[in-house]
């Protein structure tokens, strides 16, 4: 690893910490309650800083990673080398720099997680809102669908779907993860909407002649945002874990594109002789999911005052 990449990494860490400090200070001065409540959560600042580092590193991958992620440095002399100064996390079976792959893998893993979650939350939000708002048979049909989705262990769903999808590209993987991951969100949103639709502002909008979808879009969804945001933050983590599991089974992200999941799979057979290959991506997944959970918890506290004292 070159001096430049160390420097850039240090700069990113510094910038992430500064960012969090700055927003915490602003939150303290802010009039809004929720921003202050967010930072009152013990792990919120740390989680946010970690996420900031991860996202920035992913965005600036070419600056932080000394090598191309698929670059094979020397397929005989540099195979599965333990960590040293040049390759801080070692090299893998293909003589690729594990650190560079981890950095670029952040793009894939976080990207797949985030986009998959967006698909899921959008779908889940719409279905939940429609079910909760229209009730009656719409509610019945949609919620039974949700029951079906929740009754099959998720990995069976995804495995089955992947069997149907032939040459699996990242885009289709994202859609798959999204399509099989919206059921719980729909349930949460529906419950929220059921209470919202009896609130005075909904009635007011209706008496002013607003259409159903307009009411849903303008009044219901914004007010149901709190649980939606929390479930989205948790959702990214779950998507990342699922992607890792699929890549581990050999049906996730295709090589040579690095994802943390297929990095673990790459190193699986070498766990006894070259543990660094799969240990670091495993830790990376755990840390990112932890950070996401910490932020989700803090968000819950911030956005939903009823449970504030819980943490």
């Amino acid at each position: 690893m070159t001096a430049l990449s160390w420097l850039v990494l240090a700069a990113i860490v510094a910038w992430a910490i500064a960012l969090v400090q700055w927003s915490r200070r602003r939150a303290r001065r802010a009039r809004r309650d929720d921003a202050r409540r967010f930072f009152r959560h013990p792990s919120a600042a740390a989680g946010l800083a970690l996420l900031a580092v991860l996202v920035t590193v992913a965005l600036c991958a070419p600056l932080v990673a000394p090598y191309r992620p698929s670059q094979q440095l020397d397929i005989i002399a540099l195979q599965s080398r333990p960590p040293d100064w040049l390759h801080p996390l070692g090299t893998d079976l293909y003589s690729r720099d594990v650190w560079s792959r981890l950095v670029y893998g952040a793009r894939v893993s976080l990207g797949v997680g985030t986009l998959g979650m967006l698909v899921a939350v959008t779908l889940g939000g719409m279905v939940g809102a429609a079910a909760g708002y229209f009730r009656g048979w719409v509610d019945g049909v949609l919620m039974r669908l949700v029951d079906v989705g929740l009754s099959v262990p998720r990995i069976f769903l995804v495995l089955g779907a992947i069997a149907v999808w032939e040459r699996l590209r990242i885009a289709s993987l994202i859609v798959l993860l999204g399509l099989t991951g919206w059921f719980a969100t729909a349930r949460i949103v529906r419950a929220e909407v059921l209470t919202l639709r009896e609130r005075p502002f909904t009635d007011a909008a209706r008496s002013l002649g607003a259409g159903s979808w307009r009411i849903i879009a303008r009044h219901i969804i914004p007010n149901a945002a709190a649980p939606l945001i929390v479930s989205a933050a948790l959702g990214i983590g779950n998507m990342m874990l699922l992607e890792a599991g699929l890549s581990f089974l050999g049906v996730g992200i295709q090589p040579p594109e690095p994802s943390w999941g297929n990095m673990i799979a790459d190193g699986r057979d070498l766990l006894t002789s070259a543990p660094w290959i799969s240990l670091f991506p495993g830790l990376a997944i755990a840390l990112s999911v932890m950070a996401l959970h910490a932020v989700a918890d803090a968000l819950r506290d911030a956005l939903d005052p009823r449970t504030t004292r819980l943490s």
């Binding site: 670059q71 094979q72 397929i75 005989i76 069997a163 050999g250 295709q254 699986r268």
Partner: protein, 556 residues
């Protein structure tokens, strides 16, 4: 609720542990020459133990201990004529006329439930193997040349052939394991695939079936009255693991005693470092190659836009540093074959056949000469608006092929060729290959001992497994000459010519043929391994009485 006072509970646990440990040492009844228990770490699960309808490779490992052929290949036997064979169920054989082969069965051979093995059984077996209801994979091979099999008397079986050719004897004995007619005659042929017999088989071989716990293990016991000599190992147990890595871990941890292939250098290293395993190297029966589809992906009537051009294929072969890749993946335990040749065909590894050396500059020149240049500066060559980019299909379950795919991808990138890797489940890959829905694929073939039955199917113009639609009249002619050669030398000359043609036409890139390395616990002695089936001689393996461990003695 029963509550034990604190102290007695500790004692109870201690007693429990004492019971278990003492039981282990107490149960050690067996102490003599015939006590060994061998635990194989098997990959995959047994489907059925009825040879004509079994298809998993672990099935063969197991049923070859239970069923016998009429005669068997010797460790370095050739397939032309009968000189490479030793008697098994047949004591001796002779040709009564050029098209009639007579087998005299060993009168000592008995089915494990008592009755002697008769010529009736042999005729019954041939009828079963060739029946459409049984649907054996060997049906076509057997019917191609053998007209009928009849019983002359109880110990004499007659094979009538349609035509004369060098491997008549091989075809007569190699494909069939003789089955007990008295137990199977009443089982409707159409139900054999799921027959109860396949879950509790009775044969005439050195080992008897004991039990099979699905998903976990399978146990065989030595037949102490086996007519070719009592097997030394008393019990053979297969433990099923879902993948090679888990299986090797079991062997390294001492929870299993043997595994037939270690494959990667890492695994070999692990086995070597374990301290209790002995490694045995033997020529592997497989070869792996990249197959070019000479017809368009998904449309076998149109030529492939890239691979229909012989010079482009040759350029890609030249751009691949196969020796270096082989060294990287196998570090000395595999060789780059000079044709579709597994190591087990050792008589074809001759100096006349050579691997063309790596030459990326020449590859670049060839590609440029065929009009493939990088006109837009994106690092990928193009011609007439089409990029020099193709999809490479790889089964996700094969670590060496997944590894090779990525090495090839980087190597070809250096000469301006883009490779997109499609990892897929093996079932999907098989279907794509057969439908012609691919650009290029990494395939491994398990070759029969005889090239004459293995090569034409994969590379011949009308071969059922010639998925790339390579067609060369010259190659077909040379293969036909080799298959009808009557001496090994003549056969070899024709094969060299045929594989030379293949090398010129480059319908694929031959990547590697592995040296198989088996790991067997060091307490096992007299380990002999036959290249075509490593388990075939297990009955001669032995564990000396002074080396017996707890597993060997228990239950004796």
């Amino acid at each position: 609720m029963i509550t034990l006072p604190r102290v007695p509970r500790c004692i109870a646990v201690a007693v429990l542990i004492a019971c278990t440990t003492s039981a282990c040492s107490r149960a050690g009844g067996c102490r003599d020459e015939y006590c060994g228990t061998l635990v194989f770490a098997g990959v995959g699960e047994v489907t059925a133990l009825l040879p004509p309808v079994s298809d998993a490779s672990v099935d063969r490992d197991v049923y070859d201990q239970i069923f016998l052929r009429l005669a068997d290949l010797t460790p370095d036997g050739g397939t032309i004529g009968d000189s490479g064979f030793v008697p098994q169920l047949a004591q001796r054989w002779e040709w009564t006329d050029p098209l009639t082969l007579v087998f005299h069965l060993d009168p000592r051979a008995r089915w494990q439930d008592g009755p002697p093995v008769t010529a009736e059984d042999v005729a019954f077996t041939f009828a079963a193997y060739t029946d459409t209801a049984v649907n054996s994979a060997d049906r076509g091979t057997l019917l191609a040349h053998i007209a009928s099999v009849t019983a002359q008397d109880s110990l004499t079986a007659l094979f009538h052939f349609r035509d004369r050719y060098p491997e008549m004897f091989y075809d007569a004995v190699f494909h069939m394991r003789i089955l007990p007619a008295h137990l199977l005659r009443n089982v409707p042929l159409a139900t054999w695939r799921t027959a109860e017999f396949g879950r509790a088989p009775v044969g005439a071989g050195p080992y008897r079936f004991v039990r099979w716990t699905p998903g976990q293990s399978l146990e065989l016991a030595a037949d102490s009255g086996f007519y070719l000599g009592r097997p030394h190992l008393r019990r053979l147990i297969w433990r099923f693991a879902s993948d090679l890595n888990v299986a090797i871990t079991q062997v390294v941890a001492g929870e299993a005693d043997a595994i037939e292939v270690l494959l990667s250098p890492t695994n070999i290293e692990r086995a070597r470092n374990s301290g209790h395993l002995t490694l045995y190297s033997y020529p592997g029966p497989t070869y792996t190659f990249l197959r070019f589809n000479l017809r368009a992906d998904g449309d076998s009537l149109r030529p492939h836009p890239i691979f229909a051009d012989r010079d482009v294929r040759r350029a890609l072969v030249l751009a691949t540093d196969r020796a270096r890749m082989c060294q990287s993946v196998f570090s000395g335990n595999a060789k780059v074959p000079p044709g579709p040749i597994p190591q087990s065909w050792s008589w074809l590894w001759v100096p006349q056949l050579t691997v063309p050396s790596y030459d990326s500059a020449q590859a670049a020149r060839l590609l440029a000469a065929r009009g493939w240049r990088d006109s837009d500066g994106d690092g990928v060559r193009d011609r007439g608006g089409r990029k020099l980019s193709f999809h490479l299909s790889v089964p996700s379950t094969s670590p060496p092929r997944v590894q090779y795919a990525q090495l090839l991808q980087e190597a070809l990138k250096a000469v301006g060729v883009e490779v997109v890797i499609d990892q897929m489940e093996p079932a999907t890959l098989q279907e794509r290959l057969r439908a012609g829905g691919f650009d290029a694929a990494l395939e491994t073939w398990f070759a029969d001992p005889s090239p004459a039955s293995a090569a034409p199917g994969i590379w011949g113009s009308h071969g059922p497994s010639n998925f790339g639609h390579y067609a060369s009249p010259a190659f077909d002619r040379q293969v036909a000459a080799a298959a009808s050669a009557t001496t090994p030398d003549a056969a070899r000359t024709s094969w060299i010519a045929a594989f030379g043609t293949l090398d010129q036409d480059a319908p694929g890139i031959m990547l590697f043929s592995v040296d198989n390395i088996a790991a067997v616990d060091s307490r096992v002695t007299d380990v002999q391994i036959r290249p075509d089936s490593w388990w075939a001689l297990v009955r001669t393996w032995r564990i000396p009485p002074d080396k017996l461990n707890e597993r060997d003695r228990v239950g004796g």
